[in-house]
Amino acid sequence: MAPPANRRSGFSRRAQYGLFFGYVLAVAGVLLAIFLLIISAVDPRGFSALRGLALDATSPATAGGRSVIRFFGGMGESVGAYFNAASKNAAMRQEIEVARQKLIETRATEYENRRLKQLLGVAEESEQRVATARVIGSSFDALYQYATLAAGSGSGVQVGMPVRGPEGLIGRVLDSGRFASRILLVTDGSSNVPVVLVRDGTPAIATGRGDGAMDLKTLEVGENPFRRGDLLVTSGTGGIYPPNIPVGVVVALAGDSAIARPLASPGRLDYAVVLRPYQPPGEEAYAPEGPR
């Protein structure tokens, strides 16, 4: 193909100046963009109003698309369910039996737990729900692992609040619009969650890796305390995330750290509960902010 000839402005002074000023404007635009970038790095919440607005504007498309996908996905599922109904029924009945037994055991443990806590004088602090909403979308970018939630400041959702699903911790609120909010998933590289190992209570920090898993770093030097299959729950250290929310399972060991998969897998996110930021007992009121 021939090179484009239209860029040459010929001998016309006016056209030459026009082209030149076009470039000056573009370079000025780049500088402006870098300036904006620096502002967003220094003050991550500087443009929150604008970002919330953009979130609100795009959320209907997201929600609509999601229901279309759900419809088609659901169709395949229900046809399959119809054919497998009989065998599934039997399996479920068996499962219920097991679950009922487990439930009774758990109730007994819970009762004992409560009594022991009363004995120790520890005040029970349950998670406080702010809103329950559908997860309507998610980003597919390695560096920015976000999900979009169909609830915003209209339902009381504020930036910094922790978000959990039925299986475990999902992340925390990053931007909130009026009807929608953006959640930073625990697998995002800028997410740090203080966790403890359920087996022996070793504290660690779970940092996102960007590929759907988390890196675990212990706070103590020594031998690797993790084993494959270990369960991790939030510790509540430092606030924001309430304690005892399941976070992930250790899937691999790497040197003196370990790799964990989140229990609330991003592919299966469905409903999420926004919680009030946890305030460790004996500390000042938590002002929601934090590094992005």
């Binding site: 193909m1 502002i39 390695a142 560096l143 590289g189 800028s190």
Partner: protein
């Protein structure tokens, strides 16, 4: 012209189509990122907005100035939730670089377009990673590799789609 087309309103319609098709297809590609296709554990879907943008730029160099990239980048930053200014800066820089390259390199063909698009995609991915890194994201640069490679390999496909739109745009 008007003899072939028939009426002046059709004429106007065709002008609108000629002028706005690149812009609308690019905006649509940017908005695709809010459409919840799937959420995967390790993301491998190319950034379609950027791919369509550089496809149009390489196909029709005269259609857009770098300022267009600035505004489309602003839209992309808002829609995807990236730090404000990231796509604005990178996309405009890519356009300026394309302008510079085209003024130096005297010819243009399929392979060269693919090559420059590949360089642009790699630059875009690495600089996005760098911006995220500076802002405290601890993801390793290797996690962006699958997405980068797939984007480079998928560029001819996106280019084909854009070419089809271009044919439709210029059809009478």
């Amino acid at each position: 012209m008007s003899r072939i087309i028939g009426s002046s309103s059709e004429h106007r319609l065709r002008d609108i189509r000629r002028f706005y098709t690149p812009l609308i297809t690019t905006i649509a590609a940017i908005l695709l990122s809010v459409f919840p296709i799937v959420s995967q554990a390790s993301p491998t879907i190319p950034d379609l907005g950027f791919m369509v943008l550089i496809s149009w730029r390489l196909l029709r160099p005269e259609a857009w100035t770098p300022r267009t990239a600035l505004l489309l980048g602003l839209l992309n930053d808002f829609v995807t939730g990236h730090p404000l200014g990231q796509s604005m800066a990178i996309w405009t820089l890519v356009f300026l670089a394309f302008d510079f390259i085209e003024s130096r390199v005297g010819f243009k063909d399929y392979w060269l377009d693919w090559f420059f698009a590949g360089v642009a995609i790699i630059f875009y991915t690495v600089s996005s990673w760098y911006v995220a890194h500076v802002m405290g994201n601890q993801a390793d640069i290797s996690v962006t590799l699958p997405q980068m490679i797939i984007s480079v390999l998928a560029f001819p496909i996106v280019g084909r789609v854009v070419l089809a739109f271009d044919r439709w745009r210029l059809a009478r």
